[in-house]
Amino acid sequence: MSTQQQKPETQESPEDPEMKGAESPQQERLKEKESGMVDERSADESELDGETVHIKVFRYDPEVADKQEPRFDDFHVPFKKGMTVLDAVMYARDTYDSSLTFRHSCRQAVCGSDAFFVNGKQRLGCKTQISELEHPVRIEPLPHQEVVKDLVVDMDHFYDQMHAVEPYFQNEDTPDASDLEEQRQSRENREKVKMSTRCIWCASCMSSCNIAAGDNEYLGPAAINKAYRFAMDDREGDEIKEHRLRILEQEHGVWRCQTQFSCTEVCPKDIPLTEHIQELKREAVKKNLKFW
């Protein structure tokens, strides 16, 4: 496996003074990944070639008599180099049991529909090499979300929270499009919001967050990150930013975050979610807003 990793984002973007010196969990994780420590088992893929991979998949269907009681089904899938968790469950479905149900679409980590709980961690199925996991591989639906069937969870609450932060650009003062006059944005400002714009709405962060699990009204890391994406974008004016901070500093907003970093740890797009939440807390303080 190659050791390349992206350059930590903060080297390019203006660093927050309080974060200086200390390494973010994201940076630490990148370092770990570089040294190969992250792999639960650095299996030599050739060892697995020709073997089968044992997966245990969560099954539940409220409608089907023998699936009303949740259980795990075992599948033994022939291993091929490069096989991902998604490949394995697709193989199991297409070959052994066509009723095995899960969402998936792009299989390249951008549609965000195949986040599962794999060996106790939220991961995108399409992006997770099965050779890097300890076997048997346990594949479950995302925790803290209602299970619809097998690996499919109800996403409505997640979408509601995303919508609650007014997730759309608000600047009525744009130039005339027919004059082909765009709004100006500095490279630095784009760089500042860049990571936050990468969210694919997979809900891994929300599922990993203890606070969200205990407080159903908490906006949660994804929605707060979505708000960050706009609040920190200089193209929206100060008034709008203040309006956004008012939404965020409400009782179930940014102050609920206890900086546990679990969201940052599981984000498949390496968005520094916890940092974004902390930064918004500081912004709220600067604006003398309410502190719950």
């Binding site: 149900t101 792009c106 979408y159 100006r184 784009r190």
Partner: protein, 612 residues
């Protein structure tokens, strides 16, 4: 029954843009989509949006490049509309907050792409489609447009007059994937199909698993012709093991292709002596496969794409996403080693025949985006021209469906007196007709039901029976078996290089698939989130679409754009400056032709040799 003015089916870039436009025009609009909008495949587009924004560039150059790129199979009124509307529509995305990459002065960045005479590809890193999709969805949320997500549209509710040009579309029938509930959606003004591409007809594709040509198949069954289906674009740089796309932006920024000898083959072997790696996609894809076929491929399968010399800073700024993809899906570090790439199915230039207002020959039925063929891409789509197509023609279809006057269209649709009849090509099997009709077609009641509700109720009933049959049948063939056989046949025989013999083999296999499909059944008895059922219906759609691709490829006995034929390796302008149209007619496909429109507003695009 649900009721809206405009129903948009599919919520990728084109569908979302159509919905926003219809909303702007004052219509009550609803989006019905089998995926939640942010899961749509537009999100996987990487490269960028072509638009003549800068001084020194202008829409006429964009139109010229597009006509040339299309190998003179694009219709000039559509191509000129694309080039004229793209700048304003691109800037509007910026106004909606799209995080485009920026120049020092804060303006949006543009970069060179294959086949362009000016660097006019506007981009947001190497993840432009992701941002476009999210920005468009944000606008839908802002406007409070009704979204029915995870509702799978199965059929169009159209009247059943003999001539499709006389038919009307009154809505769609869909089922709620979560609950299995089947409902009619009545459209008082129009239905816009924006269901994306049919990439899953092939087994090595950059397309999402959900790209199953549903809109193509529904329109086809309802009587709207599919146009130029033989023109399938194979992207030169997809990862060999998964088909994951490596953006043309890599070559745009200066990435180089090498064979196993370390030769820069685009120049060494004279494939494109001027443009090299930045020749258009069909040229580069053929060059790569020729290298592999002549023994100069790496591991006899792929070639190398090298971007190391661009330097870490530039790569991180403009192509960071590519590093992640190469790392995650191929285990290759693009900063220290070249990436393995090979051609993969990427885009369907053809689709549902529409005019430049997005309208099909069926009254009230529109199509936009990859599922439509206006046609702007002709024989070969230029990189960076798909995203402007989504926003330009999505917008126009939405406006027109909502009643906004866009002027008369110059492009004609449907069967009319300007078309040339049937082919005399020798078909290996009677395609389509296999005794039993898997396509459903328009429910015939002899034109008795004239009112919209009646048409819709009848179609709902038909859909309900169809689903009950599939779920209640307890033995037979499973869709996955048929689908993989179909995909393999298409990749084996209707790929970059095509022979008459191969295409005929593919048609025979497609026919077998159609026959096996008569015995298909859904093993999952549940109505809750039954993906088995959904995929079974998608597979039926893929059979229809694959058949039109192979048929088109068989009858077009010339070499044009992405369509290479071994028997006839010259572009035959005398006989083939025309579109292939295939329509579903009484249980079998019928083929006819319509001449290409090369006359633009002020000039005629004279076909020239395409050299790069």
């Amino acid at each position: 029954m649900y009721e809206h003015d405009v129903i948009v089916v599919g919520a990728g870039g084109a569908g979302l843009r159509a919905a926003v436009a219809a909303d702007e025009a004052g219509a009550d609009v609803a989006l019905v989509s089998k995926l939640h909008p942010v899961r749509s495949h537009t999100g996987a587009a990487e490269g960028g949006i072509n638009a003549a924004l800068q001084e020194g560039d202008d829409w006429e150059l964009h139109a010229y490049d597009t006509m040339k790129g299309s190998d003179y199979l694009g219709d000039a009124p559509a191509v000129e509309t694309l080039a004229k509307d793209a700048p304003e529509d691109t800037i509007r995305l910026e106004h909606w907050g799209m995080p485009f990459s920026r120049e020092e002065d804060g303006r949006v960045s543009q970069r060179p792409f294959g086949g362009l005479s000016y660097p006019r590809t506007t981009y947001a890193g190497a993840e432009t489609g992701h941002h476009l999709l999210h920005v468009m969805y944000e606008q839908v949320v802002k406007r409070g447009i009704q979204v029915y997500d995870e509702w799978y549209v199965m059929d169009l509710a159209t009247t059943d007059e003999d001539d499709p040009n006389d038919r009307e579309c009154h809505g769609v029938v869909a089922y709620d994937v979560q609950s299995g509930k089947i409902e009619g959606f009545k459209a008082n003004q129009g239905v816009v199909l924006a269901t994306g591409g049919p990439g899953q007809a092939f087994d090595h594709t950059t397309n999402a698993v959900s790209c199953t040509g549903d809109g193509h198949a529904m329109a086809y069954r309802a009587g709207a012709p599919l146009e130029d289906m033989e023109f399938i674009q194979f992207h030169p740089t997809s990862l060999p093991s998964t088909g994951v796309l490596i953006s043309e932006g890599v070559r745009g920024e200066g990435g180089i292709l090498y064979n196993n000898e370390g030769e820069r083959f685009m120049f060494e072997y004279g494939y494109a002596n001027n443009s090299g790696e930045l020749a258009s996609r069909d040229v580069v894809a053929r060059a790569e496969l020729t290298e592999v076929n002549e023994g100069r491929g790496v591991n006899d399968e792929y070639v190398h794409l090298d971007m190391r010399h661009l330097g870490e800073e530039r790569i991180m700024d403009r192509l960071e996403n590519i590093l992640h993809l190469a790392e995650d899906f191929e285990g290759v570090d693009g900063l220290v080693e070249p990436m393995p790439v090979k051609p993969g199915q990427h885009y369907a230039m053809g689709g549902i025949e529409t005019d430049e207002n997005g309208q099909t020959c069926i009254d009230g039925l529109y199509a936009a985006g990859e599922c439509a063929c206006v046609s702007v891409h002709g024989g070969n789509r230029l990189g960076g021209n798909a995203l402007p197509e989504l926003i330009v023609f999505g917008k126009r279809a939405g406006y027109h469906a909502a009643g906004k006057d866009l002027g008369d269209a110059r492009i004609k649709t449907g069967y009319g007196d300007d078309v040339e009849d049937e082919t005399d090509a020798d078909l290996p099997v009677e395609p389509g007709a296999s005794g039993l009709d898997t396509s459903g077609g328009v429910a015939a009641d002899g034109g008795v039901t004239a009112d919209a509700e009646g048409v819709l109720e009848r179609t709902v009933e038909q859909t309900r029976e169809h689903i009950d049959y599939l779920i209640e049948k307890d033995d037979g063939v499973q869709h996955a078996e048929i689908r993989s056989k179909l995909q393999k046949a298409m990749t084996d025989y209707v790929n970059v290089f095509r022979t008459e013999e191969g295409i005929k083999k593919a048609l025979k296999i497609i026919r077998e698939c159609r026959e096996e499909y008569q015995d298909v059944y859904v093993a999952d008895p549940s109505r809750t989130f039954n993906t088995d059922l959904q995929q079974t219906i998608e597979t039926r759609n893929l059979i229809d679409v694959a058949e039109t691709i192979a048929l088109g490829a068989l009858v077009r006995n010339e070499f044009r754009g992405a369509h290479w034929r071994q028997e006839n390796q010259i572009r035959d302008d005398e006989n083939w400056l025309k579109h292939t149209l295939i329509s579903w007619d009484d249980g079998e496909p019928s083929i006819f032709y319509r001449p290409v429109i090369l006359e633009g507003e002020d000039k005629t695009y004279e076909p020239k040799v395409r050299s790069y």
